[in-house]
């Protein structure tokens, strides 16, 4: 299991941030990364044989982040209907300008995942496409759309 421990220690911070960026919360990202690693651990003999186990865990964490966000949306609507406030407090201090993260949070989950993989890990478009299991053209489209949206949102907010 020692190779898994090394894998966990090396990869956890990045995957937590990718999941957290996708889900919109650093804390939630840590939880999701933990869950993804748990899945990897349970199937480690199989996962460790993959060319890139890290890509597998990233994909799982991102998918869980997207699913979790979908669930939050449904939950928020239900709570609003019941006149109860949303219980999930996703506000937290994150590194950098708050307006940047607010703009990032307005992106679609898939766009956020692409942004995190691109700018956190400096991955190529082909690598991102492989991790997300989408086409290169779709990845490029997501990246362009995300950057355009961020540029528009952040215009005039520079201090």
């Amino acid at each position: 299991m020692s190779d898994f421990e090394d894998f966990y220690r090396d990869e956890f911070p990045s995957i937590a941030v990718i999941a957290g960026t996708t889900a919109g919360s650093r804390g939630l990202g840590e939880d999701l990364a933990q869950e993804a690693f748990a899945q990897a651990a349970q199937r480690w003999p199989e996962i460790s044989q993959l060319d890139r186990p890290g890509a597998w865990v990233r994909r799982v964490a991102i998918n869980m982040a997207i699913s979790r966000r979908r669930r939050f949306s449904a939950e928020a609507r239900a709570l609003l209907r019941l006149d109860r406030p949303q219980q999930h407090d996703l506000s937290e201090h994150r590194f950098g300008r708050s307006t940047l993260w607010e703009a990032v949070d307005r992106l679609s989950p898939r766009q956020r995942a692409v942004i995190a993989l691109k700018y956190l890990e400096e991955r190529t478009v082909a690598e991102i496409a492989d991790i997300l299991e989408i086409s290169v053209s779709a990845t490029t489209s997501h990246l362009h759309a995300a950057r355009r949206s961020l540029a528009t949102d952040l215009e005039g907010t520079k201090q």
Binding site: F4, E5, Y8, R9, P13, S14, A16, V17, G20, T21, R26, E30, D31, Q34, E35, F37, A38, A41, N63, I66, S67, R70, R71, S73, A74, E75, R77, A78, R81, R94, F95, G96, R97, L100, W101, V104, S108, P109, R110, I115, A116, Y119, L120, T124, E133, I134, S135, V136, S137, A138, S141, H144, A145, R147, S149, L150, A151, T152, L154, E155
Partner: protein, 428 residues
């Protein structure tokens, strides 16, 4: 890398640094997550944490100040000295952590010489792009869709993005750097707008100059390895019939779900590249649609765009854009069949079209949400076969009002959603 790129990189790396620090300093967040689901997994970093935790406490001197990513102890330049001063510290542990969580980068400013000033050091120079597009009738990209790459760059992945105002920061390598600009043509992975190469002025020649250098790259649509497609120039009208069929490039659909088109749901609101531009037509995906067009004498690209007018389905209401290669027409040409691959441009980020399309939003789950939420996890995991009508026992104190789950299983069983159907639950 422009300011946006730098800020994103810095923020994300700062986050990674913070998470890495929490691995060492703040056990509860990770421990709690583990305790809920996989208690044993928390043991993985425990040894590292205990050792380094003592070290960090020693470094911080027991202070209660929250650790700043920028100013935290591990970000200080005296890390090795501090670490060695702490009892029981293993320096290699600290070094390993530092290597895994690099400090936020420093942002280079336009015109600023890179700190690693070497013979090949790039000097950033801001230029303004004033693109010229050859050919008519093709969707022209937004300025920020245009990217630049250097012919001399040792890293072929290096891409420079044009800002919405047309400016872009390009590194000039001595006086030999040639830049090439490209932009995607939506829906055509093999085609792109491609510019002629541009030689930038020498960086030294622009020093102390406040004026932006303008570049006017001339773009031409290119497909494949570089065959140029003229793409415009209406020739003498050659009227012929083309059967258009459509297929969707939905590889970017959430969770890999596939939708396809709803027959008759697509109104083509823009048809460019032909004299019959702006004609609104409907394409029936299954049978195609025959249009009589004024053909061109050369192979060309046809761009269509419109809205999926369907009320259901993952792409309901989404804009789409498609492009097809239209063969050259000539007198006596047989009718041609063209398949247009369209790609949706859903830009409503927080709307989940898959959820909206399969769940009746007017029928939200009633109280008991959390209980059913757990069921949904198990359902998505394939634990239940909902069609068999299993009996659920729900630990739920609130009254349930006909709460049930509706699953839309796909191949990967990733997509489930809510519905208030007819099944009943009971409180315990």
């Amino acid at each position: 890398m422009n300011a946006l790129d730098e800020e994103l990189t810095e923020a994300l790396r700062g986050e990674r640094y913070a998470v890495g620090a929490r691995m060492l300093l703040d056990r509860p967040a990770i421990a709690n997550a583990s305790r809920r689901r996989n208690r044993w997994l928390v043991a993985v970093p425990v040894a590292l944490t205990v050792i380094a935790g003592f070290a960090i406490l020693g470094i911080m001197g027991g202070g209660d100040e929250p650790m700043s990513v920028a100013t935290g102890p591990l970000a200080q330049s005296d890390k090795p000295a501090a670490a060695s001063a702490a009892d029981g510290v293993e320096e290699d542990v600290i070094a390993e952590f530092q290597a895994a969580t690099p400090s936020p980068i420093m942002a280079a400013q336009p015109g600023q010489i890179d700190a690693a000033d070497s013979a090949d050091t790039a000097q950033l120079m801001t230029v303004r792009i004033v693109p010229v597009f050859r050919g008519t009738g093709l969707t022209r990209p937004m300025l920020e869709d245009i990217t630049a790459s250097s012919s001399l760059s040792s890293n072929s992945e290096e891409i420079y993005y044009v800002n919405s105002d047309g400016t872009v920061d390009l590194p000039t390598v001595r006086d030999r750097d040639v830049f090439h600009f490209v932009a995607p043509i939506p829906g055509t992975p093999d085609c792109r707008w491609s510019s002629n190469p541009h030689l930038l002025p020498t960086a030294s020649g622009l020093e102390n100059s406040d004026e932006l250098t303008e570049l006017g790259p001339e773009f031409t649509p290119i497909c494949g390895q570089g065959d140029r497609l003229p793409g415009g120039e209406p020739d003498r009208a050659i009227i012929w019939n083309i059967v258009f069929r459509t297929e969707v490039n939905d590889s970017d659909a959430e969770n890999g779900e596939s939708s396809g088109f709803d027959a008759g749901a697509l109104s083509v609101q823009q048809l460019t590249g032909y004299e019959s531009a702006d004609e609104v037509r409907t394409i029936t995906p299954t049978t195609g649609s025959t249009w009589t067009v004024h053909g061109l004498a050369t192979t060309s690209l046809l761009v269509v765009s419109g809205v999926n007018e369907s009320q259901v389905g993952p792409y309901a209401g989404c804009m789409f854009e498609g492009i097809g290669l239209i063969p050259a027409a000539s007198p006596g040409s047989a009718d041609a069949e063209v398949t247009i691959t369209v790609e949706y441009q859903c830009d409503e980020p927080d709307t989940d079209p898959a959820l909206a399309s399969t769940c009746d939003s007017s029928r939200e789950p009633s109280p008991g949400f959390d209980a059913a939420d757990n069921l949904m996890d198990r359902l998505c995991a394939g634990e239940f076969d909902v069609r068999a009508g299993p009996a659920y026992r729900i630990n739920q104190t609130d009254a349930l009002e006909g709460l049930a789950l509706h699953a839309r299983p796909d191949a990967s069983q990733k997509l489930c959603c809510w519905s208030t159907a007819t099944a009943t639950g009971r409180s315990s």
